[in-house]
Point group: C2
Chain length 303, copies 2
DNA sequence: AGCATTGTGAAGCTAAGCTGAACGGATGAT
DNA sequence: ATCATCCGTTCAGCTTAGCTTCACAATGCT
């Protein structure tokens, strides 16, 4: 197995351009460097350096090795940093979160904010990603936490090897233009919205299926879905400007949506569950992030 | 700096559960393991093991270190593998590509296929990603190659530190329902399509801007964009089923699109350039991937 | 209680890895 | 052209990291 120390020497020689420079920088004699690199070449069975004039230059193979060396040495540094933090009684590490849009804004972002205060040594990386793509990424360690959604009556695939935790449940609301006749009502009977054009997500998404199902079951009509986008904020904007209606979960609305009427359906109880997925063995950092997400979720349901 | 060898011992002790087991597995005496781990604890100033009964167990800090150790040791293995391949005269390494949808299907996928034959030691990872997000990812080494698009008259941001290479230029075509009166014509005058409903990408995208501009400049009308999706294949489907029109680049059509008419606009010359971005210093593997992409692109323009 | 087994420490030995001096090759000034 | 100089490499010699062997305390099984 290659020795990191030798790789460090190689990288230094690459960086300084000369063996003498590397020796001076690292506090060794040039001879030591030269000998160690000779050993490295013997071990790998590859020429890593070639003399050019009275200096040395890396070969293609040496270049490859230096590139790996830097990532490895960076990794060691990260390990030392995290270890030091953990030893000092703090929780540290890198945690990668994936989430769908509305939870990203209402749950993940607040959680990141609070984590910055409570766990400054946790580095959170977050990205928007679909639930279906998340399970393999979790298993491959490319991802640590997934925040997913599940509409009532449309259960997601079960992953026995992953840990699932309920975050919150939210109601689906009817979003109407402010000037719609039913906008004044406390609760809106779905069956009276048969003539309304709708904005919903693309076909094949959970939201689209939910939308169609609600209109059929509670309204007894086939919805005229005229505008489609997977971006909930665009859907909201479409209601405001085009006069279409939409069925959106609480999280999308957040504190309130100006220019539209947000109402509960008169009958039925349609909702969406938001949950998180992690691997079964959680590092302390992942556990802390999961806790922060749970706290942010309950905060969200209170307000 | 921590020594990888000691980390390997720690990982082995973690895996086997006992010092004796690790010693047997690695061909050392138990005493050697014990001493090395004692050194590791002294170096890091942290207790990594604690005795439980007559065995040892990792502390929380030890756990952290083992997790890093495995990634580091895997990294060393990857380095050795790539070095061996390079030393044998082959080009190797991991190359991450990002691309927008149509180039993904028509250019990236064929390139991956040909690379599998010509450079079996290059591991290609590919993802769909927007051009705007790609430049920072390239700089952070999270990405190696970006395939982007640029509509005529809408130049992308210039990145002086990144290398840009032209791949191909394609024409924008008018896509009409088969039963449209103008579907029979060789070339379609845009100004006669003022009454047609359109399908185009979401507002704010390059395609949407191109669409509006073409309708204004060549047609003299404001398009009635009734359907919007950023997925070109959905746009194509919308033309087939809803009777709307669309303006789509060649790559989307590919070999041909059944059920719709593909025509050139009668006047004007509207196109889209497809290019790739890499960092200025290319590894041999990245260069090989870039070449394969260029070859796939010219293949695509021929057919 | 007796015994096997585990982890740890002390003594001693081998070899890895350092220094310093000597050497061959390339460069640039005279 | 010649010589001083600088570079990388090699060799001899020394220090010490790291291994083994042996001894010992602690634990759990019978």
């Amino acid at each position: 197995m290659m020795d990191l120390h030798r790789l460090r020497l190689l990288r230094e020689v690459h960086g300084r351009g000369t063996v003498h420079g590397a020796a001076r920088a690292l506090g060794y004699s040039p001879s030591a460097i030269s000998q160690q690199l000779a050993v490295l070449e013997r071990e790998t069975g590859t020429r890593l350096l070639e003399r050019v004039g009275r200096n040395v230059r890396l070969t293609a193979a040496g270049d490859v090795l230096v590139r790996h060396a830097t990532t490895l040495l960076d990794g060691v540094e990260a390990a030392e940093a995290e270890l030091a933090a953990v030893a000092a009684g703090r929780v540290a590490g890198v945690v990668r979160i994936a989430s769908f849009q509305s939870a990203f804004i209402r749950v993940v972002a607040p959680a990141i904010r609070s984590l910055a205060a409570t766990h400054p040594d946790i580095r959170v990386e977050a990205a928007e990603l679909e639930v279906e793509q998340a399970a393999p990424a979790l298993r491959l360690q490319q991802l640590d936490v997934m925040v997913g959604d599940e509409y009532d009556g449309q259960p997601r695939a079960v992953h026995a090897d992953l840990h699932r935790e309920h975050l919150l449940r939210e109601q689906i609301r009817v979003i109407l233009p402010e000037d719609h006749p039913l906008a004044a009502a406390e609760r809106v009977p779905i069956e009276q919205l048969a003539e309304l054009p709708w904005a919903a997500c693309q076909p094949g998404t959970g939201h689209r299926e939910m939308h169609v199902r609600v209109c059929r079951e509670l309204g007894g009509f086939e919805p005229d879905i005229r505008y489609s986008s997977d971006d909930f904020l665009i859907l909201l904007e479409l209601v405001r400007t085009t006069g279409a209606g939409a069925l959106l979960p609480d999280l999308v609305i957040g504190a309130g949506a100006p220019g539209v009427a947000v109402r509960l359906p008169a009958e039925g109880d349609v909702g969406r569950a938001v949950f998180l997925l992690t691997r079964r063995t959680r590092t302390p950092a992942v556990a802390a992030v999961a806790d922060a997400l749970a706290a942010a979720a309950t905060d969200q349901t209170r307000s």
